[in-house]
């Protein structure tokens, strides 16, 4: 009985149009990245990666210190940090604040963390209007769909899909010209920005020595979200902390190049607290919600802890031969691709999604492009071991376990191994093909069996 993951993967592989869209779009992003990280364009690339990894390692290894430092500095600038254990605490805080301030309309800039906690659904359930303002996220919100990719959320949709969504949800005439679709979204969202009571953003980085939130974007919607309304709430995972503003000289050089092949994204905002006396615009209130939601579960293992270094560039998705073919919706959680494959089992428990760590050929391309040098393949291998330990403990998949014990036994008894080989060659490949044999031959031919093994031929030399 194929799992949901297998089923979804199969459907995506069978959808030729979707295959083309995802493979081409990720290919483009992959190539664009390659163009700007080469030895000619960014000679320091490998050094920067090493530095970024070291800074993240230090920040995460001393996370409590930096969270408290961040908190103190946010308060010093007139803002407030709120620690949230889970999704409920995030929405509870925002709902209470909205209620207190009589707020009805919220604008949101792109944040995977808010996807993680289903924030919009919760807010809307309580009668608030919460509007996504990143173009791709806005389209998805109208279409009631999840993001397909960490950086390019509507990767899977064509202009015709967008036209259909706009017509159906906005009651506008059918429009398939992309510039016009964008202009329509712009004019609708502009009104929302200017009327909104609260702006909710994510954060790419939380700068501990400054009490600042750093937001990286191309459209300008995050700038508007964090500048037009009177209240700005940034929601970020606790792992986003970096020690110093100066560390941005390293991280910003890596982020946009890795994500889209740009040298820098169009807008990088460094926001600390509400507007200062004399500043004409900017929010009057500034909150940073620091979210756990299971991140603390990834801290105890010194090696797997590096899963939290991720700066959400999406490079691993764009280079992964598996993601490029099965896309983001095959994955069970908001984080997809190689990073999703290591985060999801660690957050949910390995037995929730036992397929994920195995849905990889371990080619290592992800580890090679990760700007913070997360050793994704190594963690995948460890997770595989964790899955099998859990299965052994729960007496699941016993046949497979037995098979590998037999394998180990055979491989530690050379004469028996040799005999088994001889038997295979004399009996041949069964014409009734089941299990792994059938899986193999469904896609390619089997190699012909040689008459003799190497060792037999060696002896006759």
């Amino acid at each position: 009985m194929p799992s949901e993951f297998h089923q979804k993967a199969h459907e995506t592989l069978a959808n030729a149009n979707l295959q083309l869209a995802v493979f081409t779009a990720t290919g483009r992003l992959k190539d664009k990245r390659s163009e700007v990280v080469g030895i000619g364009q960014l000679p320091d690339y490998q050094e920067l990666r090493t530095q970024a990894h070291a800074v993240k390692r230090h920040a995460i290894d001393n996370l409590d210190h930096y969270l408290e430092l961040f908190e103190r500095n946010v308060a010093a600038r007139g803002g407030r940090v709120v620690y949230c254990k889970d999704a409920t605490e995030v929405s509870d805080f925002i709902l209470a604040l909205a209620h207190e301030r009589g707020a009805r309309l919220i604008v949101k800039s792109k944040s995977m963390t808010t996807e993680e906690v289903d924030l919009n659904e919760r807010l809307e359930h309580h009668g608030l209007e919460s509007v996504e303002t990143d173009l791709g996220e806005y389209i998805l919100q109208l279409a009631h769909q999840r993001p397909y990719h960490i950086v390019a959320p509507a990767l899977h949709m064509t202009r015709y899909d967008v036209a259909e969504v706009f017509t159906r949800r906005l009651h506008v005439p059918n429009e398939t010209v992309i510039e016009k679709q964008t202009a329509l979204a712009r004019s609708i969202l502009r009104q929302k920005f200017l009327a909104a009571d609260i702006g909710i953003s994510g954060a790419n980085f939380l700068v501990a020595d400054s009490g600042a939130v750093v937001i990286v974007e191309n459209e300008g919607n995050a700038r508007l979200t964090t500048s037009a309304p009177r209240i700005h709430i940034a929601v970020a995972g606790i792992e986003k902390v970096i020690p110093r503003a100066q560390d941005l000289a390293t991280f910003l050089k890596l982020l946009a190049r890795s994500a889209t092949g740009q040298l820098l994204s169009v807008y990088t905002s460094f926001l600390s607290g509400p507007r200062r006396p004399g500043e004409i615009d900017g929010p009057d209130e500034f909150y940073v919600l620091l979210l756990d939601n299971g991140r603390t579960r990834l801290l105890p293992d010194k090696n797997k802890r590096q899963s939290l270094f991720c700066i959400r560039c999406g490079a691993c998705l764009n280079t992964c031969p598996v993601y490029r073919r099965i896309g983001g919706h095959t994955f069970p959680w908001v984080y997809s691709g190689p990073i999703g494959a290591i985060l999801t089992p660690q957050f949910m428990g390995v037995q929730q999604e036992p397929d994920l760590p195995f849905a990889s050929s371990l080619c290592g391309a992800c580890g090679e492009v990760c700007p913070v040098k997360i050793d994704i393949p190594k963690i995948l291998l460890e997770l595989r071991s964790d899955v099998k330990k859990a299965e052994t403990r729960d007496k699941q998949n016993r046949l497979e376990k037995l098979g590998f014990r037999a394998f180990a036994w055979l491989m530690t008894h050379p004469r028996l191994y040799e005999m088994a080989g001889k038997l295979l060659r004399s009996v041949g490949v069964p014409s009734i093909q089941a299990g792994p044999l059938r899986a193999w031959t469904s896609q390619r031919d089997l190699p012909p069996l040689p008459g003799r093994s190497f060792r037999e031929m060696w002896r006759r030399r």
Partner: protein
């Protein structure tokens, strides 16, 4: 309290006790290349143009702007630098607004927003703008076109030099924005569209000083 709960979980996982001192962080990596001012100006202009922006040197920004704004609704920030060049007083330009709502309305209806900039970054074609009484956020954000006037000696080599000069931006302002080219998206079919929410046209005038 969630704060105590989360911090406790973090410490337990890391094997740290409250207020335990931390080892020294890896030194911040700041490498400032040696680039002449002329080369910086040239690089800034080339990078901005590569992003479909416009950038040029001028010793008469007032004249350049006067021709650009003909027939348009224009808002200028309260930057003393713009005032010194006589830009703020050009006919047809609104400036000197200090009220939040009034400024927002002016920006929302303007065709062009004119600002100065604190710095520019030569290697990426970036403007660095800190929010202040003289420079409000909306002027470079709401109008569909942005014109920035930057003195050439404010052009830095890049991020490393910026964070070397300004290691603590939060001490200066509630907002520092790095602006690199016109607003853009490729969210639909990876087709590039400019001017999504922020300005779709950007012009940088580099002045002598």
């Amino acid at each position: 309290m969630s704060r105590d709960y989360i911090l406790h979980r973090v410490r337990t996982a890391l094997g740290r006790s409250p207020s335990q001192p931390i080892p020294d962080p890896p030194p911040a990596r700041i490498r400032i290349p040696e680039v002449s001012l002329d080369a910086r100006v040239a690089s800034l202009i080339a990078q901005v143009e590569a992003l479909a922006g416009v950038a040029f040197e001028t010793s008469d920004p007032r004249a350049s702007i006067a021709s650009a704004i003909a027939g348009k609704t224009v808002i200028a920030s309260n930057s003393p630098y713009l005032a010194a060049w006589g830009i703020a007083s050009l006919p047809g330009i609104q400036s000197g607004i200090t009220g939040r709502e009034q400024l927002r309305d002016a920006c929302a209806t303007a065709d062009i927003g004119i600002t100065s900039a604190d710095y520019a970054l030569a290697d990426t074609g970036t403007l660095v703008m800190l929010s202040s009484p003289a420079e409000a956020r909306m002027v470079s954000l709401l109008p569909p076109e942005h014109i920035a006037v930057v003195p050439r000696d404010r052009i830095l080599t890049g991020l490393d030099e910026l964070f070397s000069i300004l290691p603590n931006p939060a001490a200066q302002s509630s907002s520092m924005v790095l602006i690199t080219g016109p607003s853009r998206t490729a969210d639909i079919e990876q087709i590039l569209v400019r001017g999504v929410h922020g300005p779709g046209r950007i012009t940088i005038l580099v002045t002598p000083g």
